[in-house]
């Protein structure tokens, strides 16, 4: 592996940040060690040394060594997980409410939570893996594609299980649905303000709004479905394309 200095240093600090963050380390501690390492890399550059001088042969081993000396930040994690959990439930409930009313069984409540925990673990593991290994762009894309399709598979599986196994369930009346929709929208706005990004508003909007508006049109059910799918995927693609482009400019 050859490092072009500036690129190498930048990639290394980016990857280290992802690795330590996915390992549940304290954000403040992470920034402290990274700024110290960046100071080192700047000095080393003046002496004509590259990143390999700092990290040795294996980025993975080096990241592990650093992570091993940093405490697991439970307090920090407890700050993020409830927010994420509320966000995921708001997302699921809004989907159900928009698509003809919420009917929630005990099995689904537990199942959703289980899927959430599985996915959190898988995502953290994959981020750590990608950050500490040099993967080709193609391999990285395949990995994240697979990772993205796992929850879809799990949710579909849960749906079928829910249809065959009978557990206590509640069905919301129209007022309940309306209140839920309002609450979910408020939650998305709150998360957006908290995280200072638009993503928690834009993604649900792209996913659910087309369906809502199309239902008001006199179009055929099938055509409605196809059009909303096209808008959904087109919208998501466009959004991520624009975000990606903006990041590159930065």
């Amino acid at each position: 592996m050859t490092w072009n200095y500036q690129n190498g240093a930048r990639i290394f600090s980016k990857n280290l940040r992802v690795y330590l963050f996915s390992s549940g380390k304290n954000e403040h501690e992470i920034e402290k060690i990274i700024s110290e390492l960046e100071d080192h890399l700047m000095e080393a550059e003046k002496d004509g040394k590259d990143v390999e001088h700092l990290i040795g042969q294996s980025p993975k081993e080096y990241m592990e060594q650093l992570a091993g000396e940093m405490a697991f930040d439970l307090k920090g994690l407890l700050k993020y997980i409830p927010v994420l959990l509320i966000g995921v439930y708001a997302y699921i409930l809004l989907g159900n409410a928009v698509q003809g009313g919420i009917e929630y069984s005990l099995l689904k409540v537990i199942g959703d939570l289980t899927i959430f925990i599985i996915m959190m673990t898988l995502f953290a593991g994959s981020f750590k893996y990608v950050a500490s290994h040099t993967l080709s762009k193609t391999k990285e894309r395949i990995l994240f594609f697979l990772l993205g399709s796992i929850p879809v598979g799990l949710f579909v599986g849960l749906m079928f299980l829910d249809k065959t196994v009978d557990t206590p369930s509640i069905e919301f009346n129209p007022l309940g649905n309306a209140i839920t929709i309002g609450l979910c929208i408020l939650i998305f706005i709150a998360i957006s303000i908290w995280s200072k990004t638009w993503v928690s508003i834009i993604v649900p909007a792209i996913l659910y709004l087309p369906e809502v508006f199309l239902r008001m049109t006199p179009l055929d059910k099938e055509i409605q479905m196809i059009v909303s799918m096209v808008i959904m995927f087109g919208g998501l693609f466009l959004y991520f394309f624009l975000v990606n482009k903006q990041e590159k400019i930065r």
């Binding site: 390492l37 080192h40 001088h53 990290i55 042969q57 060594q65 650093l66």
Partner: protein, 107 residues
Amino acid sequence: MSTSQILKGILEGCLLSIISEGETYGYEITEKLNNRGLTMISEGSIYPVLLRLKREGLVETTKKQVPSGGPKRKYYRLTEQGFEELEIFKEKWTVISNGVNQLMKGD
């Protein structure tokens, strides 16, 4: 056995000794190690050790403005406990190095 395994414990003692010479920072520490011929240590391996020394209360750190500008730099200094630990290391090291030296000479 890899060099890094042999050096792991020793490195802690070396860092304590270098920092005991006076306030210093990461890159300078690696230069001082290099000057003593300890070039087999990859420069980055001092940082996990520094994190450990800090956690164990053997060193304390201060942030200072660098004359050349740029972000503040972290400087290390031994604590009282750090100096004590250095003395303990020196005693142990004398015993170990004497023994190993004798063995390696094939006595």
